[in-house]
Symmetry: C2
Subunit: 269 residues, 2 copies
């Protein structure tokens, strides 16, 4: 079912004191309830579309699958095809995923905290990544422009983030958009998971906004070799990337970028 990712409203545009009525396209934001087998594990505000990927990605990056394979992903089916039925997605492992621990309520800083509250906690769950061949800096610097061409919802609304997986030669393999950066990343990870392509060894992850701790945590869980962010990283994100062995670049714009991890770039041939 094609569910709208954008919606048109009439707005009043004011420029130099002159007001005129005009249609404007907005990004859609709706709650999605994610269930793992019989357990409600998350509720997120998301842009509809690629919901199965989002649900699978959330379960994976939060460590809820613990290695269990995903058997099916489906919308809530109660017989009645209400809109609401498409706001509940169940990820089924046939009970092979462990029962989720009860969690405390979380609020967020543009992020889902999801139980791993610190780098120390995270390092007990995830191993440092194996070294992979460095992606050339000029390839990394070209990724933002390549992804921009596929950011249809952003182009229409100015209000959507994008995440993308790219190959070591810079080829963009997969782009997902969402009102939330974290959802966009989970959709990318979920797609790779459902395609049997995790860990994403050697691949890079692009994010259109900032690189917070949570973004790097998700990249680590999925095994990405590199993270390229258009905007600033947080200090904890840098520490996390260095601990994980993830290459982290920020402020990747106009052919420039800053490399935050590793701390020192090895000289390249």
């Amino acid at each position: 079912m094609a569910r709208g990712r954008t919606e048109t409203v009439l707005v009043t545009r004011v420029d130099e004191g002159v007001a005129r009525r005009t249609p404007d396209e907005l990004v859609v934001e709706e709650p999605l309830e994610i269930r793992l087998d019989d357990h409600l594990v998350a509720t997120t505000m998301r842009t509809p579309g690629h919901d199965f990927e989002l649900a699978a990605g959330v379960c994976f990056t939060d460590g809820l699958l613990a290695g269990a394979p995903v058997e099916t992903v489906r919308y809530c089916s109660t017989g009645s095809a209400t809109d609401t039925a498409y706001n509940v997605v169940t990820v089924e492992t046939g009970g092979r995923a462990p029962e989720p621990a009860p969690r405390v309520a979380t609020t967020t800083s543009s992020c889902g905290l999801c139980g791993s509250t610190t780098l120390a906690d995270l390092a007990t769950r995830l191993e440092p990544l194996p070294a992979s061949r460095p992606i050339p800096l000029d390839v990394l610097a070209a990724v933002p422009d390549a992804v921009a061409e596929a950011q249809g919802v952003f182009a229409a609304t100015g209000g959507a983030h994008a995440a993308a997986a790219f190959a070591p030669d810079g080829a963009v393999e997969l782009v997902r958009e969402d009102i939330g950066r974290h959802n966009a990343v989970d959709k990318v990870v979920g797609r790779l998971l459902l395609d049997g392509r995790l860990p994403a060894t050697g691949l890079g992850l692009f994010v259109s906004g900032r690189a917070s701790f949570e973004i790097v945590q998700k990249a680590w869980a999925a095994g990405f070799a590199a993270v390229v962010a258009v905007s600033a990283p947080a200090a904890l994100a840098v520490a996390t990337a260095r601990a994980a062995g993830i290459f982290l670049a920020g402020f990747a714009r106009g052919g420039r970028l800053n490399v935050y991890a590793p701390e020192r770039i090895p000289s390249r041939p």
Copy 2:
């Protein structure tokens, strides 16, 4: 205690293929655990600073206080002055706040969902706001530049959001910064709460990023008359502002803005 909101790391800046090592200032992101009386109600990644305001604001905008007055706000004190003790804040109402309902785990789209998953749910908790005198459009359009002057963490790092409360004449009364937009708003609301200034009738709320459903929800809970966002609103945010009677402007940059709510601007004298 002055806890750092920014941190300096050495990075490699790459421009036109030329790399040089240089110090770069990053925004700090640390977990904060928020307790209401004896209950853990939230854990959020936040930029340290104004933690009491953040904790009080979260409890207020989530509707957890339910009208109970805040008696004290304090850091976790166990006798040992560890750093971790400053990542736990307790809001005390002497047990007058209702016991928080157990909540499901939430993930987020740059937001905390916090139990009110839809506009319909929200409208059962909050009344439409009383009409207040409209703030002139040219005053609203000037707010972003006025707030920018106070965005010290953003100026240093490029990685922090800001929220601000402003008077009907455009005077900026209060600016708070955080890695999370929602936290910045909660810090502003918390300050007003602790100062006995809620509801914020007649005041405007500025946010440096997009206006999601959650931002408008917080503005509604606090009673702001207007929300001005630098970036795009989500469709649900527009619907929420129209239901609440909140004036909502987006893309407020360079003297221009789009008015999303009310649907039609009344003609002004």
